[in-house]
């Protein structure tokens, strides 16, 4: 079969690799119908996270079950399913409590040794371990292209907005409205806050967020602190969700938060550092919450229900649909920010 593999920093290629097979009783093998390029794939693409040439990449995919192991009870060949981007055991202390991102056997699809050596999901076929836990059925009314978002970014946005504790009088500031930030904006709006502010420097992303109902703030034209202060009586935002994963975004999130605010950091970090005056954070009574990786298994049924009901709609994010063979072009477009979301069709 064909699969997208890492080809060195800044490069991917499509290779012919071995077809996956059921290796463990809990496995399912899928024929994939749609995959997507995620912002966190770029961490590997840029060499910020370790990956060796030839290793499969990608973790957002939907498909049809082709084969299951003997221990799989919830799925059968022919079922349409979305794959969780993080692969967990479903049985450990953390998984039982819905904190699947802290699973004792946590793995990531398409993340090289860093993710436990699993194959990538930008491929024609995929083996999914512990399928009963790591797959979710797709309702008839939801398309494959929409469902692919439930395995990662849509549910991540839903999770971020949920743990932020948004109330009806709150001003929510979302720092960075790439795919996760955009989904966070939509999820925040379902909670009925007073307003959702979308902070970014990219006009296309701001336009999408505005169309979804957020108030766009172009941080290249306006100082974010001043812009947020203007619409919050000078106080700052009640809830801030940082959806970038860069120290500058973290600083912005802290700066636009009011005293006593909740700041949720859902953007992904690896080795970055920041300098903080702890006394100031303490005096400001900031409730700082690092989301970690989204425990998608605990939240994706809710996100799927919102998607099916039409209250969440990730499709405006899709800027490109490319055949799998053009994955390298898709990565280049996404890396240059000429694409908001690239779908790959195997």
């Amino acid at each position: 079969m064909r699969a997208v593999v890492f080809d060195g920093v800044g490069r991917v290629r499509v290779d012919v690799v071995s077809d996956p097979v059921v290796e463990e009783p809990g496995d399912a093998v899928l024929r994939l119908t749609c995959a997507a390029i995620c912002g966190s794939d770029l961490h590997f693409f840029h060499g910020k996270a370790p990956m060796s040439p030839g290793e499969g990449i990608g973790h957002e995919a939907v498909g049809v079950v082709e084969e299951v192991g003997d221990a799989v009870t919830r799925f059968a060949p022919g079922d349409r399913v979305v794959v969780a981007f993080d692969i967990v055991c479903g049985a450990c202390w953390f998984c039982e409590r819905g904190q699947t991102q802290l699973c004792e056997d946590f793995r990531n699809l398409g993340a090289g040794a860093f993710g436990g050596g699993l194959a990538g999901a930008q491929a024609e076929r995929l083996r999914v371990p512990v399928a009963d836990v790591n797959l979710l059925g797709i309702p008839h009314g939801v398309t494959d292209e929409a469902a692919v978002f439930v395995g990662d970014v849509l549910t991540t946005g839903w999770y971020a907005a949920s743990i932020a504790g948004i109330g009806p009088q709150d001003t929510v500031a979302v720092v960075g409205v790439g795919p996760v930030g955009y989904c966070t904006v939509q999820a925040a709006l379902t909670r009925g806050p007073r307003q959702v502010l979308a902070l970014d420097r990219d006009p296309a992303r701001l336009a999408l967020a505005a169309a979804a109902g957020a108030v766009p703030i172009d941080v290249t034209a306006r100082h974010p602190v001043t812009a947020v202060a203007e619409v919050t009586g000078g106080r700052g935002a009640d809830i801030v969700i940082e959806a970038v994963g860069h120290p500058d975004a973290f600083d912005t999130a802290a700066d636009v938060a009011r005293r006593g605010a909740t700041v949720v950091v859902v953007g992904m970090y690896t080795g970055e550092t920041v300098s903080m005056q702890l006394g100031v954070w303490w005096a400001r009574a900031i409730d700082l919450r690092f989301s970690g990786v989204c425990p998608v298994h605990a939240w994706w049924e809710g996100a799927m229900a919102e998607l099916e009901a039409g209250r969440l709609d990730p499709m405006p994010l899709v800027s490109h649909r490319l055949p799998l063979a053009q994955a390298a072009h898709g990565y280049d477009l996404f890396d240059r920010r000429e694409a908001t979301k690239v779908l790959l069709v195997p």
Partner: protein, 139 residues
Amino acid sequence: MVAFPTDAWFQALIALIGDSASYREAAANWEGDIAFLIEAEPDRGLPQDAWGRLDLWHGECRGGGVVTPERGRAAAYVIRAPYSRWKEVVTGDLDPIKGMMQGKLKVEGDLPTIVREVRAASELVELTQQIRTEFPDEA
């Protein structure tokens, strides 16, 4: 009128510091230069960041003015905020010590040392108010 945040504005402040007996007394124990990063607000007439620096030493100002970012970052203390916040400080609408503790003015350097100098900070702010300041968003 002197435009803020220009070198002429900082020189006017330095001259006022030199003439102020009350600042000299209030800041008698202060040692260390302070850089002020006035962050750009293009929509308010400040298209680029501006850096100012005051070399404050035992109640005197030994020099300063608008400096390069490199020179500013080398100061013992760096205080940064958007232009609008600095305007609030200069007009007396934001107490700088409260502003630092509330995170409205961000401090790089030993925060307890600088917030102990409440009187010196207050004297400095009063001196800035003696300058007939022209703000870029009012020009």
